[in-house]
């Protein structure tokens, strides 16, 4: 179905090739996983598979690419979109409409199909993915898993023979990952060829037939799923299996059991009574049902607590309340046994959001750090902080030109410059490779060891295993 013979590619304005001499073969109905550190060339392979290279991205492509037995160059680009369907990390960035129904119809309408033909193409896919009750819903009110199903439905309605998935699990909770895995297995059984690019590996063992590890644009290793285990440390990959058992623990805990230890709590010399105390808080958004009623929690200082649970259960709202961005209707907060509220909460805490673009403002990395230190009123040793976050070679670069992992580290560095007593990070490792994830986990652990209360809002069980002391599962009740 897909054949790469000595394929090399260089992006425009770049001197170094993004891919060098890649040889690959994926047969009809097979599933291939390509992984590797960030920037290794995975996405570039994907762009060749779905025809975006050379149609959308110019540059120099050499070697032979055969898709469905025909040279890539001989396929008209729009025929290619009927052979290969693509699903990306963030489904929201693939939406062209505002409601589920409009989104599902858009691609078919632009192909010139009549309303009847569109209905005929959509009905089976809508039923298969269980979207019938959601048709009139706004896309922005759906959970991440549902959003992904909408994208998948709009792709499947075009009846592609190959499905290309680029980091499909980065934003999904464990239940949604399990559902996606089940669906992909069914599609594969029906003869669909799958090409998956992902850092998270634990969910793929039962799905993929071949595995390729890319390094600096070259296919460094190729084999079966066991290959990943053998070369995990060498390529800085994420865990191959461990996460799956943790996911099961996570699912069983969603029903609202009390928080319980997860992993081995490290020994620290900080009094257990110190920390952030949430006392009987109640909160509701205007004209909405109450989200919290009489909620009481304790987050110990010097420890890292993972806050997880399904989308919409109030994790982010709880974080916003704790750092003073929202005001509870009732209840109070205590930080290290002293009452704290309003502006004082904002002064002593930091929240790092998933969207790094909105958290970087200056012209260079150095200026960004200086500005953050000035706002926090703390002294700054730029060299030391750049080194500890492995950003030394980016000192004069524009923060917005950094890679995703580098931007994430810079945002966390800026947050830590505030010396927060309460640090909350929202999905800090989404889309990060194993090496970057472990680097970040180290930085977070150091912040906790300095006595801060650290809370991670995350679905990433590998990160939890790496650094968390406690897990708190949120559930929607009543």
């Amino acid at each position: 179905m897909i054949d790469f013979k000595n394929v090399s590619y260089t992006y425009p304005y770049q001197s170094v090739p993004a891919l060098r001499n890649i040889n690959l073969h994926v047969g009809r109905g097979e599933a291939l996983l390509l992984t590797g550190a960030s920037g290794c060339g995975k996405s570039t392979v994907g762009r060749i598979v779905n025809g975006l290279i050379p149609e959308h991205f110019a540059g120099t492509l050499s070697g032979q690419v055969l898709i469905d037995g025909k040279e890539l160059r001989d396929h008209a680009f729009h025929d290619m979109t009927q052979i290969v369907g693509s699903l990306f990390q963030d489904p929201e960035q693939q939406f062209l409409s505002t409601t589920v129904n409009d989104e599902l119809r858009t691609a078919l309408e632009w192909r010139g199909l009549s309303a009847k033909e569109i209905d005929e193409a959509l009905h089976p896919v809508i039923d298969r993915l269980g979207l019938r009750s959601k048709l009139d819903d706004s896309l922005f009110t759906l959970s991440e898993g549902e959003k992904q199903k909408v994208v998948l439905a709009s792709v499947l309605a075009l009846k592609p023979r190959v499905l290309m998935l680029d980091e499909p699990t980065a934003n999904l909770d464990p239940i949604a990952v399990t559902e996606l895995c089940k669906l992909l297995r069914e599609l594969k059984r029906d003869g669909m060829t799958l090409v998956i690019f992902d850092h998270r590996l634990y969910w793929l063992e039962s799905l993929v037939d071949h595995v390729g590890i890319l390094e600096d644009g070259q296919l460094a290793e190729h084999g079966d799923f066991q290959t990943l285990e053998k070369h995990r440390d060498r390529f800085g990959l994420r865990a191959v299996r461990g996460g799956m058992s943790n996911i099961e623990q996570g699912i069983s805990n969603v029903e609202g059991n009390p928080p319980r230890p997860f992993g081995t709590p490290p020994k620290r010399g900080i009094s257990p009574s110190l920390g952030f105390q949430v006392s009987s808080i109640s909160f509701a958004y205007p004209r909405k049902a109450p989200l919290f009623e009489e909620l009481s929690l304790h987050f110990p200082a010097g420890k890292i607590t993972a806050l997880c649970g399904t989308n919409g259960c109030g994790k982010t709202t709880l974080a916003r309340l704790m750092i003073g961005l929202e005001k509870p209707k009732e209840g109070a907060f205590q930080l290290n046994e002293e009452s704290i509220a309003g502006r004082d909460l904002l002064k002593t805490s930091s929240l790092v959001l998933q969207n790094t673009e909105l958290q970087l403002y200056m012209r260079s990395v150095e200026e960004e750090l200086t500005s953050a230190a000035r706002a926090a009123g703390t002294p700054l040793d730029v060299n030391e902080i750049l080194e500890s976050f492995q950003l030394s070679n980016t000192r004069n670069r524009h923060p917005q030109s950094l890679s995703g992992g580098q931007r994430q580290r810079l945002v966390i560095a800026c947050a830590l410059l505030k010396n927060p007593k309460l640090l909350i990070l929202d999905e800090p490792t989404s889309g990060l490779d194993g090496r970057n994830m472990r680097l970040l986990a180290g930085q977070i652990r150091e912040a906790a060891e300095r006595g801060a209360v650290v809370i991670l809002i995350t679905h990433d069980h590998e990160l939890m295993n790496e650094c968390c002391d406690l897990v708190l599962n949120c559930a929607i009740t009543g």
Binding site: N50, Q93, A107, Q359
Partner: protein, 266 residues
């Protein structure tokens, strides 16, 4: 089997009207208002359009917007009063002269509100399709409508991020550090827009959106309600045009001022 054809129509009678009819109606009323000087006629049109707006039964949002508009008008009146005190030739102004521009804006505000409140933003794509715009306009408008809710959220998130970082963004800050404040708002939002546009362009290319002739639409005929709405507007405008100028006292006072002004000029 349930029909999955496009967008549920809004339940109000105006929501069921064809968008083209609403656009034509709104345009006609706005152009005619330029020529109507009679305050009674303007009052009549204001009352008709208010009835039209209130029939949508969206009282809360209507009165909130009305309160905002009224606040703006009161401010404008305040400023214009101040200007009248400073410029002597503007002092001799009757109540009718002062109020007429607002009477003229009243039906326009009502009609605009009625059109926007009768459309659901979430279903605006269906509205756009009915407008039968060419691809080069339809596609970017579709994208813009899709991004508006997301960008509202981004602006809120940016404000939160700046508060968390301890960077104040306020009007005094803008006066003291204008460039810095503009940068804090401008850079993250523009970068976000550029990245989103790149990603969406890729998604659109892969769905073949934006190529070919675009959505094939059957002929959409105007319905009885659409014709009635247009006829209603025409009738209201006709009645307004033929209404006599009411209130002899007001008339006289206005004329006196006009005469005096002419006399002064002579």
């Amino acid at each position: 089997m349930r029909d999955v054809s496009n967008s549920k129509a809004s339940s109000s009678w105006m929501g069921q009207l064809d968008i083209r009819v609403k656009v034509v109606g709104l345009f006609t009323v706005s152009m005619m208002l330029i020529f109507i000087k009679n305050p009674v006629a303007l009052l009549f049109l204001g009352a008709c359009s208010s009835a039209c707006l209130l029939s949508l039964k969206k009282y809360r949002v209507t009165f909130t917007i009305y309160a905002l508009v009224l606040f703006g008008w009161v401010c404008s009146l305040g400023f214009s009063w101040l200007l009248e005190q400073l410029v002597s030739s503007m002092k001799e102004q009757s109540l009718v002269q002062t109020v007429t521009p607002f009477l003229r804006m009243w039906p326009l505000t009502n009609m605009g509100l009625a059109v926007s409140l009768s459309m659901e933003v979430g279903h605006s794509l269906g509205v756009l399709k009915k407008l039968r715009l060419p691809r080069i306009i339809y596609l970017p408008v579709m994208v813009a409508l899709r991004f508006i809710p997301g960008f509202m959220n981004d602006v809120k998130q940016l404000r939160d991020c700046l508060r968390i970082r301890g960077i104040p963004v306020s009007i005094p800050q803008l006066v003291v550090h204008p460039l810095r404040t503009i940068r804090l708002l401008f850079v993250p939002l523009v970068i976000r827009a550029l990245r989103l546009a790149d990603e969406l362009a890729v998604a659109a290319e892969l769905k073949r959106v934006g190529y070919g002739k675009g959505p094939q639409l059957g002929r959409v005929r105007l319905r009885c309600n659409d014709h009635l709405f247009l006829a209603g507007i025409a009738l209201a405008l006709l009645v307004a045009w033929s209404l006599p100028r009411g209130g002899s006292n007001i008339e006289c006072r206005t004329r006196n001022i006009e005469c005096r002004r002419i006399g002064e000029e002579e």
